[in-house]
Amino acid sequence: MRVLALLVARDLRQAWQSAGLWLPVAFLLLVASLYPFAVGPDAALLRRSGGGMLWIAALLASLLPVDRLVAPDRDAGVLDQLAARGIGEEMVVLARLVAHWLGFGPALMLATLPAAALLKLDGATVGLLELGLLIGTPALAALGLLVATLTAGLRSTGALAGLLALPLAVPLLIFGAGTLGDGSGAAFKFLGAASLLLVAITPFAGGAAIRAGRE
């Protein structure tokens, strides 16, 4: 636990220093402010489509820091130094997942408030959106991290990361955006299930990817 806390603290500090924390927030706000210019100022249309648009923005925002999540530490030898100390790759990835979510999940949820105002969303929709993001952002963080471990060591990872992540992100998007128009709560359950699955497999899949990358 002590090592986990040390790793989380270090990863958070690294994210802060590399400006990885405000980048997704700026991206979300940028999309939200550009969207009304593209579709027109029709408040009813914005209200109807704005929630889904914000889900897309959140998903893409989570992919922005993928190239700095794992690759720099792999190249600098940090991952090897940790492994030589007998610290499992799963622990390293878990710490990174916690730090990555802490770094961008709450910030994204905060940024959603002004973004929702720009898109003229009503209070009930904002509530659903925030609840959905609370459940969905850990999955987005896990997905970004998983892709980062898989692509670490490859060149021009940006495009590849998108291609790898999108198929896995589609269920999150369907259930996430689905929560906005669904009164039964089923979409929330599916979103929760998808989120749990991604969060649970990422430390193991990511750890295996890092180990395989050493060979």
């Binding site: 090592v3 040390l6 270090r10 690294q14 220093q17 190249d75 600098a76 030898g77 940090v78 090897d80 130094q81 940790l82 492994a83 030589a84 100390r85 007998g86 610290i87 050493r214 060979e215």
Partner: protein, 200 residues
């Protein structure tokens, strides 16, 4: 540190589908040291990584007793932090206290640089920082891959003294180098002796 040991028997290593070396036997007990020699690409670093558990051996067994501290060509320190901050992250991971870190910094003559950001350190200073991490870790088994690279004569002498102290305290040192190192190494492995025939 008593009871530390590193035992290799019949180690073979394959890289990129090609057998690099085989049949490496080495036993280091407390206070023992060995030097790996040989030209570039002969597998010195690969053997180091096998010893550290970072690379899987193609054959043979590795037995480690005691924690490992490794210094290779990659610094693994956060560039934007001061030297002390960057090293104390690893000291905390290793469970070493600040006194141990300070001792290691002075042993490598890094005290005047302790508040400098890591990114402005020179090659030799970075190497000394990596060695200071090994010294501060308190781990009994030291794996030093080309520890003399970039070091001037004075720093090499410092390294030699640290290695000597570590061995006297019952530690183990395995170093790989293509240049002479100021350390007592009763065992010298010339890696070319173990090169697989098809690699030649």
């Amino acid at each position: 540190m008593s009871g530390a040991a590193l035992r290799l028997s019949g180690i073979a290593c394959a890289r990129g589908g090609r057998l690099l070396f085989r049949g490496v036997n080495l036993t280091l007990e407390a206070g023992g040291s060995a030097l790996l020699r040989g030209p570039n690409g002969v597998g010195k670093s690969s053997l180091m990584r096998i010893c550290a558990g970072l690379l899987r051996e193609a054959a043979g067994t590795v037995e480690r007793c005691g924690r490992i501290a490794m210094a290779d060509e990659r610094l693994a320190l956060d560039m934007e932090q001061s030297l002390t901050q960057a090293l104390s992250f690893w000291a905390r991971i290793d469970g070493a206290d600040t006194a141990a870190l300070d001792r290691a910094l002075s042993a490598m003559a890094l005290m005047p640089l302790r508040d400098m950001p890591v990114r402005i350190l020179s090659t030799g200073q970075r190497k000394r920082a990596a060695l200071a991490r090994v010294i501060a870790s308190g781990a009994p088994v030291w794996l030093l891959d080309e520890p003399g690279n970039g070091l001037d004569d004075a720093s090499l002498a410092l390294l030699g003294r640290c290695v000597e102290e570590h061995l006297a305290g019952g530690g183990i040192v395995l170093a790989a180098s293509h240049q002479p190192l100021p350390m007592r190494a009763p065992v010298t492995l010339d890696m070319t002796d173990y090169a697989a025939e098809d690699a030649a």
